[in-house]
């Protein structure tokens, strides 16, 4: 038995992996299998492309999710899948690494894209190395070919009416010596700049602390969180250290980054490079940020921002 397996500890990532897995399964004329927490999820995954769903056993309260590894390894030994895609959440990364070791196979961590060689039945997988400076293309020489895939790498699969699939229950794992004593959910109200959809970033082009109000009104118009470059937090201390972006600070990947008076040193750019769209406002047309931006507005931020807010309000009202 072969197959393409997808596994993640959360629904969204399973759906993303199902769309990636579907293309591989079609290319290799194989079937697609997913892992679900319950029957309802199993049904959804089948609708979204799974031909088979393994139902994960319910774990005792004091067992960590990762104690499922022996169950996954046993299932893989039974069915010899060709490919296993794992959602690269924190738990997924551990599970992937241990599973690859247990199955004596290779694992491509942080796979950001792949190319299927249907003849050789191999995946050429891309991953970032050297802190994002390089892209390494690897092929797993063992079976199964395993990869962990970061969230949002693929679009989620969409449900299709009338799809059918098998549901297969997995047995409970042996008890893990790692016991959960407590779980503390994350505080949702504290601002986490790395989660923001839109980030407005303040640089040294801002002349005084009071002018942050101007930036705040822009952020409000955009529905953005405010971040800053290193000196604004470290030296001027206008904003807390938790929001400075860069190689030594926070790394963000919002859908829109707006740099306000940010010159764009490499160290800063490294922290924002994964943004979907980068926009910059700077008086200096030679500022390096413009080379790293999709949209650059050359002008004095004190004149540009009020106009920008006006245009935004008008455009968004329409």
């Amino acid at each position: 038995m072969a197959g393409i397996w997808v596994f993640a500890d959360n629904r969204n990532q399973v759906l993303e992996l199902l769309s990636a897995g579907r293309s591989i399964a079609d290319g290799l004329i194989s079937h697609l299998a997913a892992f679900a927490a319950d029957r309802q999820q199993a049904g959804e995954y089948i609708d979204c492309g799974a031909d088979k769903v393994f139902l994960l056993p319910e774990l005792p309260q004091d067992q960590p999710f990762e104690s499922l590894v022996p169950v996954l390894a046993d299932a893989a030994r039974d069915e010899n899948p060709d490919v296993i895609l794992i959602g690269a959440s924190s738990r997924g990364k551990e599970i992937g690494a241990r599973l690859a070791a247990a199955l004596n196979s290779g694992l491509c961590s942080g796979c950001i894209g792949f190319e299927l060689d249907s003849a050789a039945k191999t995946l050429k997988m891309d991953r970032l190395i050297f802190g994002g400076a390089g892209v390494q293309t690897v092929v797993c020489t063992q079976s199964p070919q395993i990869a962990t895939v970061p969230p949002k790498t693929f679009e989620p699969a969409l449900p299709e009416q009338g799809r059918k699939g098998d549901i297969h229950e997995l047995k409970a794992p042996p008890p893990s010596p790692v016991r959960v004593l407590d779980r503390v959910p994350r505080q949702r109200d504290s601002v986490d700049i790395t989660e923001a959809k839109i980030v407005v970033c303040v640089g040294r082009g801002l002349e005084k602390k009071e002018d942050l109000d101007l930036v705040r009104s822009l952020a409000e118009a955009l529905g953005a969180e405010i971040g800053c470059s290193r000196p604004v937090a470290e030296e001027l201390q206008w904003l807390p250290e938790e929001v400075y972006l860069g190689i030594s600070g926070k790394k963000v990947k919002p859908s829109l980054y707006v740099g306000v008076g940010v010159s764009g040193q490499v160290q800063h750019i490294t922290g924002i490079r994964d943004s979907k769209v980068i926009m910059a406002i700077n008086r200096d047309e030679n500022a390096p940020i413009f080379d790293a931006a999709d949209y650059g507005i050359v002008g004095d931020l004190y004149q540009v921002i009020p106009r920008l807010i006006e245009e935004l309000k008008e455009a968004l009202r329409a």
């Binding site: 040294r204 002349e207 005084k208 290193r230 000196p231 470290e234 030296e235 001027l236 030594s248 010159s263 040193q265 490499v266 160290q267 200096d284 030679n286 500022a287 390096p288």
Partner: protein, 95 residues
Amino acid sequence: MKRLTVEQLLGIDKFVVDDEEAHIVLDKEVCRGCAAKPCTFACPAGLYTVKAGEISFDHAGCLECGTCRLVCPYSARAISWRYPRGGFGVLYRYG
């Protein structure tokens, strides 16, 4: 060849920035009374700038030459200067 700004030049260099301890600390009170502010011209890294009439300085990017404390008319009082802690600061790949 493209002209480079001093920020771009410093961006090429390698720094291990000491976020805990600044090796150069200014007494901005003294700087306020300094009209000439020669540091803003002499610093090869251009780290001394005037913002809203006040001197602004960031120790990240310092090339550790020592020019600032020699050109400062109020040196002893305005600039507390020492080398960064061991292992921190600028690291030349060529030199």
